[in-house]
Assembly symmetry: C2
Homo-oligomer: 169 residues x 2
């Protein structure tokens, strides 16, 4: 089903159907919420198809981005990550990310509040908003719990995200 759509899209663009391309897309599709890096995709595909090369993974990701089948996000940790986009017409446009500063977990959520913001922008500034990207940094449920159990010191929450992330490398 996913694969059939994909084959159709490839054909429409005069591109060839290859096992590598299908595997990369399938990996992204099945790891829906994991937000994989190129290297991670490579490792996963290699388990099933050891001949694949990392360069092919990069080239395929590039292709999928151009075909609008995949989207990229950068969490500020130096890696570019990829997630499957709206395949088959479902508009996954307005989904955003909650990023845990403790464990790095990424939670996706939808919200249309930003439509309101876009409208306001359009009115106040002369800027035509086409798309937007929202990242909320904080602490996820399980990290909050762990901390509560660990003791009652007041955590001084990170003021600067990027730095925070870098320090945890």
């Amino acid at each position: 089903m996913l694969q059939e759509d994909f084959e159709k899209i490839l054909k429409e663009h005069g591109l060839k159907k290859t096992k590598q391309r299908i595997l990369v897309l399938e990996t992204l599709a099945s790891c829906g919420d994991r937000h994989l890096t190129a290297e991670e995709i490579y490792e996963i595909v290699k388990a099933e198809f050891p001949e694949i090369g990392l360069a092919t993974v990069y080239r395929t990701i590039q292709l999928l981005l151009e075909l609008n089948l995949v989207e990229s996000i950068q969490l500020g940790d130096g890696y570019v990550r990829y997630e499957i986009g709206r395949i088959g017409g479902k508009d996954a446009h307005h989904h955003h990310h909650l990023i845990c500063l403790e464990c790095g977990k990424v939670i996706s959520f939808r919200d249309d509040l930003l439509d309101e913001l876009e409208k306001r922008i359009k009115e106040s500034v002369s800027f035509q908003v086409i798309n937007h990207e929202v990242k909320l940094y904080g602490y996820c449920e399980s990290c909050l719990k762990q901390e509560q159990e660990a003791g009652k010191e007041n955590r001084e929450p990170a003021k600067h995200l990027e730095v925070q992330l870098e320090e945890r490398t």
Copy 2:
């Protein structure tokens, strides 16, 4: 004034005051809205102080990030950019970016609408939001004008930002 604050902060942290550090910070301060890359900062400082090395610029930026004097943003074009943060107590936390897909211009704006979103997140998911980052992609005023003058074809607006940006390299 800026420089005095900076010297005080350096002293507080047991760091030395050097010409390089001051010039990097000044460059960031005076180029307020330009969102410079490390390389650009390097070039600007080098005009006034040719002995400086790129590595020093990187090290200084790192320092400024840790001191919370500077913030970084990634526009998706592969470069990390830096902008001066809230010096002297002014809280510049909730400012976000409008990014022109045509010319790459970055416009900063403030908005507190996101506070509302944060509140909602907290209620619906158990996630403690500490900070957030919003990027709106679209077309700036002057690019819109140019286009109107150039002709009346319907522009097919970019569906996928990152790709769009990459293609303009």
